[in-house]
């Protein structure tokens, strides 16, 4: 899968909805003033390994940018002692701090520059975004929660975020079948015993059991109590997958927020519906994949690594 494809895929998945320029940019910015010498820009670029230097006025407002190619020109013309002001580009393409990830991406696509300054409403420079910053933002999104839905096959082709191991067999399997909450948690209790019998340590077993329990309870209170709980536990790694048959989660981003819940008062009286289940799972798992969508099944896969203890 190429970078362009994965960006395309992630865009469809709405995974970038929470990313704006201020969360993508680097804030350790090296800027110069118009009256500084071109030589200073050259030194800065060399020392900081950067390919462009933003130029700001006395109030930190962005007034220009100077790139490597300008420096090379200035060098050829013997103008290193001139002021930055005389060689800088004045019509800078910049981003606003609240610009969406979409805007950032289209900026990179439309203008073939390697970096864009980010400014506040008042024009003050607050950061820079390079293609590396964009890439790390993408990678961070992948790592935190990787979510996707039916559009996945369209956009990601054969790429699968889920472990392939479950296709052949699982080390542990339990059918969730509960009307109401009476059996809710039975599967996780069995999983816990199974993991202990495999010799995993207390702490990883606790993490895996708590997360399996949260996911199992979710099947019981949000998905009609029908589903499965499976696990693969080998080589210091525990993979737990909990699946149900719907109705699915319409907005996964929202469901991951602490305190967000669609549970009824009746459920709350039974001790659930704090909107903390999925946040807990994210907290205690080392890797988390949630695949769902409106009127779709929900698959929650969590990985726990013994060496992360």
């Amino acid at each position: 899968m190429s970078l362009e494809q994965s960006v395309e895929a992630l865009r469809y998945l709405g995974l970038f909805s929470s990313l704006d320029a201020s969360s993508v940019m680097s804030t350790a910015v090296h800027a110069l003033h118009p009256e500084d010498r071109v030589a200073a820009a050259r030194t800065l670029m060399r020392e900081k390994s950067i390919s462009g230097v933003p130029i700001v006025d006395a109030d930190s407002r962005l007034v220009g940018i100077i790139s490597v190619s300008k420096i090379i020109e200035a060098l050829a013309d013997g103008r290193l002692a001139d002021s930055v002001d005389s060689v800088m580009t004045r019509d800078v393409v910049f981003l606003h701090a609240h610009d969406t990830f979409e805007t950032i991406l289209s900026c990179f696509q439309r203008f073939k520059f390697g970096r864009f300054p980010v400014v506040e409403e008042d024009g003050k420079l607050v950061g820079m975004i390079t293609d590396t910053d964009v890439l790390s933002a993408i990678i961070r999104s992948f790592y935190s929660v990787y979510v996707h839905d039916q559009r996945r096959t369209m956009t990601l082709g054969s790429f699968s975020a889920l472990s392939k191991e479950f296709e052949s067999s699982a080390d542990f399997a339990y059918d969730i079948s509960s009307t109401g909450l009476e059996n809710a948690g039975e599967g996780s209790a069995r999983l816990k015993a199974f993991l202990q019998s495999k010799g995993f340590g207390d702490s990883i077993v606790r993490r895996a059991s708590v997360c399996a329990y949260e996911a199992e309870i979710n099947v019981c209170i949000h998905a009609g109590g029908k589903g499965s709980l499976r696990a693969i536990a080998r080589n210091g790694e525990i993979i737990v997958r909990v699946e149900d048959e719907g109705p699915g989660i319409e907005n996964i981003d929202l469901s991951m927020k602490e305190g967000w819940s669609t549970a009824t008062d009746a459920i709350r009286e039974l001790g659930f519906g704090a909107g903390m289940g999925l946040p807990n799972i994210r907290l205690f798992s080392d890797h988390l994949v949630i695949i769902s969508g409106k009127d779709k099944s929900t698959k929650v896969e969590m990985i726990f690594l013994a060496d992360k203890e």
Binding site: D202, V210, G271, M276, G277
Partner: protein, 112 residues
């Protein structure tokens, strides 16, 4: 704090696990929302709750909590008692409400 002290301080009765009353807990956590409890990861904690559903036992079991103090003197259903017994969790019951039981234990040195 020994569970026998918890018993005495809150005038509780032991529903399951008399023989285990010498177990120690170093913290307590009071809540009626299980996911709040599950967010905490400290095994040597006493769970204080006003609920009497099977999920209080499940929750304690997942977290390796040794004991639960049920507040307000509520009747604990037999299936919950049985579950506590099979999972090896001590179940105590006090007539105090959650707030009062927590306060009593806190002033006697059981921290949050």
């Amino acid at each position: 704090m020994k569970l026998s002290e918890v018993l005495e301080i809150t005038s509780a009765t032991c529903i399951v696990g008399e023989q285990l009353a010498s177990i120690e807990v170093n913290h307590a956590f009071a809540s009626d929302l299980m996911s709040d409890v599950l967010a905490m990861s400290r095994p040597d904690t006493l769970l204080i709750t006003g609920l009497t559903t099977p999920q209080i036992i499940r929750t304690a079991h997942m977290l390796d909590l040794p004991a639960i103090l049920v507040a307000r003197g509520k009747d604990v259903p037999q299936d919950v008692v049985d579950l506590a017994r099979t999972t090896g969790i001590v179940l105590l019951s006090t007539h105090d409400i959650v707030y009062v039981a927590s306060g009593k234990l806190y002033v006697r040195g059981l921290s949050g």
